[in-house]
Symmetry: C2
Subunit: 706 residues, 2 copies
Amino acid sequence: MATESISSLPERLTKQRPLHPLAPLTGDEIKAAAAIIKSVWPAGTDLQFKNITLEEPAKAEVIPYLDAEHAGASLPSFQRKAFINYYIRNTNKYHEATVNISSRSVESNVRLGPNLHANADGDEIVAIEKIAVEDPKVKAEIAKLQLPEGAVVVCDPWIYGSDGINDDDRLFQCFLYMRDPLNPNELDSNHYALPLPVSPVISADTLEVIRIDTLPTGADNTVKPVGPVKVYPANEYIPEAQNLRTDVKPLQVVQPEGASFTVEHQGTSTVINWQKWNFRVGFNQREGMVLYDVRYDGRSLFYRLSLSDMNIPYADPRHPYHKKSAFDLGDTGAGMMANNLKLGCDCLGSIYYLDSILSDDKGNTIDMPNVVCIHEQDAGIGWKHTNYRTGRAAVVRQRELVLQSIITVANYEYILAFQFNQAAELMYEVRATGILSTQPIDEGLTVPWGTVVHPGVLAAHHQHIFSLRIDPAIEGHSNRLVYSEALPMPRSDFNPHGNGYYATETPVATSGGLDLNTANNRVFKIQNAAVRNPVNGLPVAYKIMAPDFQKMISDEQSFNHRRAEFADRNIYLVKHNASLPPIRQDLFAGGLYTNQSRGGTGVRSWANRAEPTLDTDILLFVQFGINHVPRIEDFPVMPCEVLKVALKPVNFFDRNPALDVPQSEQRFNRSTALASQHAQPAVAATVGKAEPAAACCAAPAPGSKL
Amino acid sequence: MATESISSLPERLTKQRPLHPLAPLTGDEIKAAAAIIKSVWPAGTDLQFKNITLEEPAKAEVIPYLDAEHAGASLPSFQRKAFINYYIRNTNKYHEATVNISSRSVESNVRLGPNLHANADGDEIVAIEKIAVEDPKVKAEIAKLQLPEGAVVVCDPWIYGSDGINDDDRLFQCFLYMRDPLNPNELDSNHYALPLPVSPVISADTLEVIRIDTLPTGADNTVKPVGPVKVYPANEYIPEAQNLRTDVKPLQVVQPEGASFTVEHQGTSTVINWQKWNFRVGFNQREGMVLYDVRYDGRSLFYRLSLSDMNIPYADPRHPYHKKSAFDLGDTGAGMMANNLKLGCDCLGSIYYLDSILSDDKGNTIDMPNVVCIHEQDAGIGWKHTNYRTGRAAVVRQRELVLQSIITVANYEYILAFQFNQAAELMYEVRATGILSTQPIDEGLTVPWGTVVHPGVLAAHHQHIFSLRIDPAIEGHSNRLVYSEALPMPRSDFNPHGNGYYATETPVATSGGLDLNTANNRVFKIQNAAVRNPVNGLPVAYKIMAPDFQKMISDEQSFNHRRAEFADRNIYLVKHNASLPPIRQDLFAGGLYTNQSRGGTGVRSWANRAEPTLDTDILLFVQFGINHVPRIEDFPVMPCEVLKVALKPVNFFDRNPALDVPQSEQRFNRSTALASQHAQPAVAATVGKAEPAAACCAAPAPGSKL
């Protein structure tokens, strides 16, 4: 797509209906922003754009807008701004700029560095892959492996990581594999089953191979000379390589009257209404899905919710594996890696899709269709009680609304979903799947930092540590974090039998890192101390239910620990400065620039300011994760590992908010009773014949006698 | 139902096809067993039966049977036996007997005691309720409350609990409530919203009121004289009392070709086959659902799986609340309390129901229809990978098979489910719902051991601690428990950057209690050390993924702690004696008789034997639970709180066992793309119109080029 001239673009923009201040950049805005920044450079300067994204206005500006919006009042006008990162192409001259699209001006434009590096972009990765297998020096190394006739070598470029040794430049560490040489035309052959011991290092600035590492393949850090490799059988995940099951019967989700949610498109911003929930959806290159201004039954809950970052440090201490420590959002971008979701494949039922527009390395736009799918799902029984005296059951099902996005990060997949339910609970679910990042290992060896998942293939242990950013607005923007614990009462005349226990509540008055304490049933809550429950007088709150996990294992002096500033605590609490744009202060828990970062710019550093956090504009980073000690069952593609964080009301309502959900009844649910087909000699039932629907638990008519 | 004569019954039994040794007692067998035990007493002796259940044969006898069964060999014959508990009615003479139904003989019959008491039974509870509100002394106390005209008092009899004070007899502590006096004909009025401060204590032996307690209603343990009570408004959960939501559209689960499972009825035993899973289902008075002989793809995994018991101790230290500590299986029975599940209400989709037959207090049978529902459910994406080079996605959905049972324990409900998936994972899910057990509290008070959930209503904090019994048979009956941990490598020449970590594995050589250690990522695995993975040589295993929880808070000297012998550790490991019937050694983690128990007969005591547990017939009790600090949102009926334990293969297979699941494709899933209906001024979409199905992620034909 050609870049339009700078003069025509902003004019076109002004003719459109004003965008919401939280609306992602439109395609025209992206192109305008690129043109504006290009205009400050001499003609012909080739810029490599890394990101052109909405610079969200400061909260202090947005809040009056939201208040007016919900009150139906006239809306303040907003300057639209883009936050831009770019290089002078083929140099290490990395820049950060803010462009005011509305005024066609550059507000700031600074060169960054040293040791601040950009994320990878798609075109760059493709270029690196090509160089890694076509460079003559690499080819000479590969030749020594004496691969079989027809072998095709495939490269997975890896973010180089940091160890402080000759890593001031932006580099890629390339891991090489081959496709199944017995089936060389299969482009989807699982090359991770056939790793090779040669690893080129390529400069992202010059696109030159600067070094070729040889990988250790033994039980120690000895590096053997490159020589002929043994070729093991392939291990494919594609269906045509399997003997597929034939006995799974279809299961379909049908909504004959359509779905229960409404979608309102306001330019690039989307407003969703569902079961008393109301919120705005954005999408950007780095975070993917972002939720804004989340309300339930008209009451404010959250200003902004997003995955802030994740870190995946690996256990193998040997060069170059010790540097494997990916920040998949900061180093690449959850938005940029979002799958184009397909009907019938990635969601089940009645699905609505959201599209996005992102920027490419030339300042043009990339259409990102179907990056978010929205659907309802049944989540089993929501609540039930049977009065055993009358036999009458009251039961409702739990319906959930799901906004799902799936990202592919080279070998690996994350399925990321916000889920809402009718009990006013909001969940964030991560499903980890995809393919293990593998490396060669000599036959017959076992090592304690990884699992052999296929002959000659080691999958090193690694941690996945996620950081969910919660910008709360529980009944307003003055909130506090507290934690409750359940503690035994001491024996006394009041507690003579030793069973007594009590709940405490501790406010967190200063920014910092905090941990769970399961032994005390420690539960973190976001409270509005000024708003009290009308029945019991307790402050309204939402609690944070995140599973505990093993924090980063890398030691405190390690680059891993210094860089992943969120990975060592369950929760970080910081104070937000409402007068600054979020991206310029606290959006990203590992810092704004994670690629080959050195630490000191992330959430631990912000928390160390020890700012007061009671009844003010606080911000939470909630960590969760898994230590993935691979099983052979995780190869050649791993069954989803599911992680879930839930936000649930605590004394926010005056009763069960799902009490008004209609009863679960057969006339609504249309279930089918399966009958038996009797057979000899045993009484066998092939399940599948439908019986007429039986009477159900419907409520009697009001006033009727049971 | 009249009891048949003892002479005719066993004759009828012998004419039937031999029952499986693990088949629950048939109705005829129950009646025969009752008749046989009655025959040893003088004619006219009135027995109050508490339980007539299969005495499962010793494992050493059953294993050869199962081996023969799976080999298609001729089957050994079995004596059918009943385990029976009964009283001489209206006495404290409690008995335990084994009756050999096949030989029409009594094998053992002993009087138990002191301090061994039976579970409650249904008829008994109804009788106690009636006495509690009709006794003249109670009525006199209630009169002092000066309840409004038309008020109806309702009694919840509670298992008395133990405190060592005048509790040698079997007693019920009765809590009284009233139905909404403004709507006195509503039999399903939520009386838990209107608790009263009078609490009669009734002897289970004599059915007499032996004492009337007055409940403390303040912030200390002062007991005020009984006087007029303030009547607060009702708080109903029934739908006709709500202003119901009108915007939930139907969501139906349709299986046009039927379900994927088969059910084979073998008398009272049921064999299920689904997606390579094969297992046998039983059902009994105490445990409800029991799974036997669980296999995947013909390979043995578990001999027996069941909920062993649960304990719910309350936080209020004041008399008589300090005794609230229920064992819902041991004190009442999950089978006996199972709901009759209704189509369209308790499950969604294509449902198959299992029935059961249990015994009543007279030795007759009780038909228990629809106590288990079986269905498939979609559980989201099972695995996915996209090759970003070709854009081709491979994705399968995760189908689950669910066996669900729901129990009502007076105020409370538990939804209990075994879930199986196509990745060879087996889950046990508990959903806690129903109504909080409430007590009166003076207006305006707040206390730290409970939450005010309605004016005048306190819901005390309480713990739910569940014990899942796992009798493993991982590739045979010689198994061991190990735990793995992930630990940092010390800094060294081998680990110069401090990122290295390694996985350890520690076998548990002696019976005992064990705990999780999240900081070390401790994971428990059941291993067969003699069977090695063909690819990586590691022992085959299943890991136990149970969430950590706060153990019992009651102190170690308390009756609560002494009685709930499972509640203080995440896992108990014991050695099973294969030559004894399980019910006579180790079925129930809190002991065989939990009602007013004193401790010393449960899993902690068994584990203290310090028996060797390596590569032998081991048995595991896995604990999980919640500390329920009530929210007002949990009243008048609480949204489900979901707990889940998963058993997952670790190096048991040679690759992802779900690799052969067919791809998720539109022609199979028949999803619907929702279109927007555009509106002004904003672009609004009322979601509901279907677009034609789009092309999907179907695999290309073998050999095709992408």
